[in-house]
C-alpha cells in the first residue's frame, strides 16, 4: 500500500457539485427555452 490520499472527500464533493450545477443549469435552459 502506497498510502491514502489525504483530503479526498473535498475533491469528491467538488466533483459532484460541479457536475450537478453544470448539468442542472443546462437542463433548465434547454427545457425552458421554447423557441430555440
Amino acid at each position: 500500500m502506497i498510502g491514502h490520499v489525504v483530503g479526498g472527500w473535498g475533491y469528491v464533493w467538488a466533483a459532484w457539485i460541479i457536475s450537478w450545477v453544470g448539468l442542472g443549469a443546462y437542463a433548465f435552459s434547454v427545457t425552458r427555452k421554447k423557441n430555440g
Binding site: H4, G7, G8, Y11, I18, S19, G22
Partner: protein
Amino acid sequence: MGALEPMVSSLPGVFFGAVCLLIVAFLVRPGARKPAIRALTVIAALMFAIQPFLGLLWTPPEQFMGDVYRIIYMHVPELQVGMLALTINFGCSIAYLFRKSWVTDALAEATAEIGLLFGSLGVLLGTLWAKPTWGTWWTWDPRLVSAAILLVIYTGYLAMRRFVEEPERRATWSAVMGIFAFVDIPVLWFSVNWWRSMHQVQSNKSNVEPSMYMTLQWSKVAFLALFVVLTWYRYHQGYRALEREVAMPSSLPEVAS
C-alpha cells in the same frame, strides 16, 4: 478463443454503434415522443437519486487512492457519454452530406453541444482527480491533450455555427467539420493503449472490484438516459429554429412541443 477472438474483441464497438443507432432512431422518429421522454426522465431521476448512495456510501475506498477515486462515478460516464454524443454527431454529419436533411443538421448541433458539455465536465473532474493523485491539476499526457483538443475543436464547431448565417452553408460546413473533428475520438479512447500514458487504462470487470464496476455501470446508464432526454429537448429546439429559417418539406417529422 482462436478464430472467435477478433469477433469478441469487436463486440464493444458493435454495441457502441448499435446504441448510437437506437438513440438516433428514437430521437428522430416522427410522432409524439413526450410520454416516452417523460418516462425516461423519471428513470434518469430515480437512477441519479440512488447513484450517490452507491458511489459515496456503498462502494469501498480504493486501495491506493482512498476515497478520492469516487470521482470516477462522474468523470468516466461524463466523458464516455460525451464521446457517444460526438460519435452521433459524426454519423449525422455524414448523413447530412448524403441526404441534405435538416433533421440530421439539427441533431448534429444538439449532440455537438451536449457532447461538449459532458466532455468539459469530464475534463474538469479529471483535473480535480489529478491534483490529489498525480500532484498536478494538468499534465501534457496524451489522454489529456487529446481531450483538450476535442474541447477546442467542438467549441470551434459551435462558434462556426453561430457565425454562418446562411442555413445550407452552415449545415454543410458543420458536416465537414464534424467528420474531421471525429478523428480525435478514437485517438482519445485508445491514447492510453497506444502511448505510455500516466492516465490509467479503461476500467472493466477484470481490473475493478465488483461493487465498483456495478456502480460505474449504473452511473453510465443514468448519464445515458439524461443524455437522451437533453438531446431530445435540444434537438427539437434547434429544429424549431431551423423551421423559421428555411422552408421545411412536409415529409420531415412533426415537432412535438
